[in-house]
Amino acid sequence: MTTAQLYLNCLPILPEIILSAVICLVVLLDMFVPLGRSRVVCGLVAFAGTIVALQVVINPPVAVEAALGGTFGGMITMDGLSQFFRMLFLGGAAITIVFTLGSVETIHYRQGEFLSLILGATLGACLLVASNNFLMFFLSLETLSLCSYVLAAYIKHQRLSAEAGLKYLLYGAVASGVMVFGISYFYGMTGTVQINGVINSVMIASSMPGFNVVPFLLATVLVLAGLGFKMAMVPFQSWAPDVYQGAPTPVTAFLSVVSKGAGFAALLRVTLPFFATNATVANATAGLAGMAHLPVLFAILAVATMTFGNLVALRQTDVKRLLAYSSIAHAGFLLMGMSVFQPDSARAIMFYFFMYFVMNLGAFWVVIVVINRIGGSDLAHFRGLAYRNWKLAAAMFIFLISLTGIPPTAGFVAKLILFKVVISAGISAMQGAVMTPASWFYFGLAIVGVINSAISLVYYMKIMRAMAFERSDDSSRLDLNWVEAGYAMAFAAATVGLLYFEPIANLVNQL
């Protein structure tokens, strides 16, 4: 590979290169900057680096556009999907860095390592969504995972954090082992580890008569174990509540957004070719390519995930843990979109994720502030918040409403678009005005989704109730600094402002 080739090949991954450079820079800075200032200096550098990387993603150099499509011999691919998610991941990383600066949880611990691990995890996530090769895919995933393990255990003198690290590590190690075992079967079946190659040959083979679908689906299940672990999808969700609760809150926010997003991005990356086929459960006779099986599989997973998340969330009293279950439930909603293999549904998933990104980060920021100021994330700590600081409470209300999916918030739009996709699949499966099993299937799925939304209202309301209708023993005013209040308001404004979702829709439609 000549230098010129190398240069050209490297251009598309410029953001990742920048990230790597920033990682090194942060580590070095952390050694030389006086202790007291390290937090701010390293934080700002990391933040600036992330923003620069984000800028490069949004406005790629001209040459990148020329090289868009593939690089390093098809090792990675640059398309709308990867652009979109890289943007989200980098944004998420930047916001997590901000959260870290605003949180007191990690204040007594070294920042250089923390920030580099965040950036490292982001690097893994970015490469994951872009990778077109299972080796690259797995390696990126592990980069993300390994950094996350350490991050979860970051408050090393705290038992909860250490326990979170342990659970995350053990669960993740097994899950990724299972996943790589599944990947090996894919390789065995198709003779290649290029993702598009694998999928193409599966699709070709499946159109042949006598195609044996069992190994393919088994391998899919094994791979799903690894991705499902990242997405916190039932039945691979067990780790999530404990880890979310135990990890430092900025890390929890990161996990619930970037890590989960990486899982979905990877899933979309793997299944993307199917979305172009316009296949639905309706044409069940067309074998694997007709996707009679995957939609049902994903629908089952979706229903199980959202129902489990919502029902168990009902009994939670720790807001952080509650949000963990809520994020499981949201994974269920996202999976609902996966059961419709149409281009629109991929867009709807991305769209939903964007909204989820905003509102969930906002909610976690409020949790961070509450932990900072009141000292815990239990419901009791939220009591009377509306009277102690209305700005924070108002912001939290907006996030909770949005998470429930009630207008006028981003969450409503997200759910609307998602349900629209599911229902329209049901309608297109109808024959004239006659309902077919497939349309019943999709309508039923939508109804389950609506019921789940209603259930979710209950536990979100529990937080609202604690904040507005109850009083805390300590009713002194809670004075926030401008950062704390400002971020909360900014996220709240974004959550409401995203009601004007035209730009996001356009962004997603570029896929």
Partner: protein, 504 residues
């Protein structure tokens, strides 16, 4: 300027909210001042709307052309920022402006968290105006829900002893209703957006009404849509048996909010039925059994609500049930699809807005002094508070439907229309007139009459803020009872357009 009018009316309260939020939390009078000024300006603007609105010159889509505003908003989803008014909405908007202005003064009795109260109150105003103006289904739905949230907190934080229960019940019920509306909206979206030629009209209410996208659909499906919308709106009205949220919410809400709840929010149900339910699905609405069923339901509402009111021991609860009874006239008037009935139903909404608001204010005045609402524990108030009693007579008799007051006009008009539809049913419904008189007089006797009780001897008569809110209502109650044409003329052409849909 006219183009901006609707936008201004809707979003000025939002600016007021921001101003309230920026004010220091301890400066209660400043906050109240901001609220009064904002709602006052908004009320002035609504009056201006009344002034510029010309009922005889409606555009082809049936709405006032001068104030009509339509801007693409979210192209990918065919959502428009589309505001417009016809006679019906103009009347209700003016009423809303009027009531929310007066309720601002009523809110002065709120002593805790004044800032939060008025901030949410302003937000609520935006929601209410938006609902009456939005002619884009999506936009309408957003405003519809927007109204729900501040209401939830206004009841839940500033309410009475069982406020939480009431707030949650209100929230759940109305949310349930709006989910049904949402489903119908989505159905229309799918039907219209499926065809690229019409996709851009997916949420365009005037277009949907004019083009009837489900014209050829199976009757069963149309019924599904109709009843989905109907239940969604019926919960808000509220119509038996979806009314049980109302007594709780009204009773527990602070007075100012009860006023808004009864005065404006209930009208949204009626407005929805008139604006969406019937025009979108006229074939269903004019089906024989549907007309019968809804008319009977309206009568049940009237009679049942009156009986329930008669059986109450809580003053405010009684007033709440009287709302159930009175809103039955609205349903009865609409269901029979006669000109008199529909006009009467609209007037009844207006009248009930004034009279029930006034009754809630009256109850609130008493509650502020006695801190309880048990009818049995009152007595002799008329001797203690003569001015207040004088106003109470006006308020209660307006609600009773006494001629020369607003309540009468709505009732008589609805009855005259309904009578053309079915004589026995209407004759039976007139029993409601009697029962209404029964519970109102009986209540007045127990609360106001009798020997003055020593524990209430210190009650001061109505103060100036209470008078500011009560006297204009009393005046309008009489004014529009004597000169109903003032209000009626504004929406007659719109009603005619509405009825044309059922002409076949």
């Amino acid at each position: 300027m006219d183009k901006m009018l609707l936008t201004l009316i809707t979003f000025l309260p939002l600016a007021g909210m921001v101003a309230v939020l920026l004010a220091p939390g301890k400066a209660h009078n400043l906050i109240r001042g901001i609220a009064v000024v904002t709602s006052g300006v908004v009320f002035a603007l609504t009056c201006w709307l009344w002034w510029v609105f010309d009922p005889t010159a409606l555009a082809s889509h049936g709405y006032d052309a001068r104030t009509w505003i339509e801007i693409p908003w979210i192209n990918s989803f065919h959502v428009y920022y589309r505001f417009g008014v016809d006679g019906l909405s103009t009347l209700l908007i003016v009423m809303t402006g009027f009531l929310s202005f007066l309720a601002t003064f009523v809110g002065f009795s709120v002593k805790k968290q004044v800032k939060g109260f008025y901030a949410l109150y302003m937000l609520l105003m935006t929601g209410m105006f938006g609902v009456f103006m939005a002619l884009d289904f999506f936009l309408f739905y957003v405003f519809w829900e927007l109204m729900l949230l501040p209401m939830y907190f206004l009841i839940g934080i500033w309410g009475g002893p069982r406020k939480e229960y009431a707030a949650i019940k209100f929230f759940i019920y109305t949310l349930l209703g709006s989910v049904l509306i949402l489903l119908v909206m989505i159905a229309y979206y799918f039907q219209v957006a499926a065809d690229p030629k019409t996709a851009d009209f997916a949420f365009n209410i005037p277009w949907l009404v004019a083009n009837q996208p489900f014209h050829g659909a199976s009757p069963a499906f149309k019924h599904l849509l109709f009843w989905g919308l109907f239940i969604g709106f019926a919960i808000k009205v509220p119509i038996f048996p979806f009314h049980t949220w109302l007594p709780d919410a009204h009773v527990e809400a602070p007075t100012a909010i009860s006023v808004i709840l009864a005065g404006v929010l209930l009208k949204m149900g009626g407005y929805g039925i008139l604006r969406f339910n019937y025009p979108l699905l006229p074939e269903v609405g004019s089906t024989d059994w549907v007309m019968w069923f809804l008319a009977v339901l309206g009568v049940v509402n009237i009679i049942y609500g009156a009986f329930c009111a008669l059986g109450q021991t809580d003053f405010k609860r009684l007033v709440a049930y009287s709302s159930v009874s009175h809103m039955g006239y609205v349903l009865l008037g609409v269901a029979v699809l006669k000109e008199e009935g529909v006009n009467g139903a609209i007037f009844q909404m207006f009248a009930h807005g004034l009279s029930s608001a006034m009754m809630f204010m009256l109850v609130g005045v008493l509650y502020d002094r006695a801190h309880h609402r048990e009818i049995a524990r009152f007595g002799g108030i008329a001797t203690q508070m003569p001015v207040y009693f004088g106003l109470a007579v006006v308020g209660f008799f307006a609600s009773l439907g006494l001629p020369a007051m607003v309540g009468f006009i709505g009732e008589i008009s609805v009855f005259l229309g309904a009578f053309k539809y079915s004589m026995p049913l209407t004759a039976f419904a007139t029993l409601g007139m009697l029962l209404t008189a029964g519970y109102i007089l009986w209540t007045m006797q127990r609360v106001y009459m009798g020997n003055p009780k020593p524990q209430y001897a210190e009650f001061p008569d109505a103060n100036k803020w209470e008078l500011i809110s009560l006297v204009p209502l009393a005046a309008t109650c009489i004014l529009f009872g004597v000169l109903p044409a003032l209000a009626m003329n504004i929406y007659l052409p719109s009603t005619q357009l509405f009825l044309k849909m059922f002409a076949q």
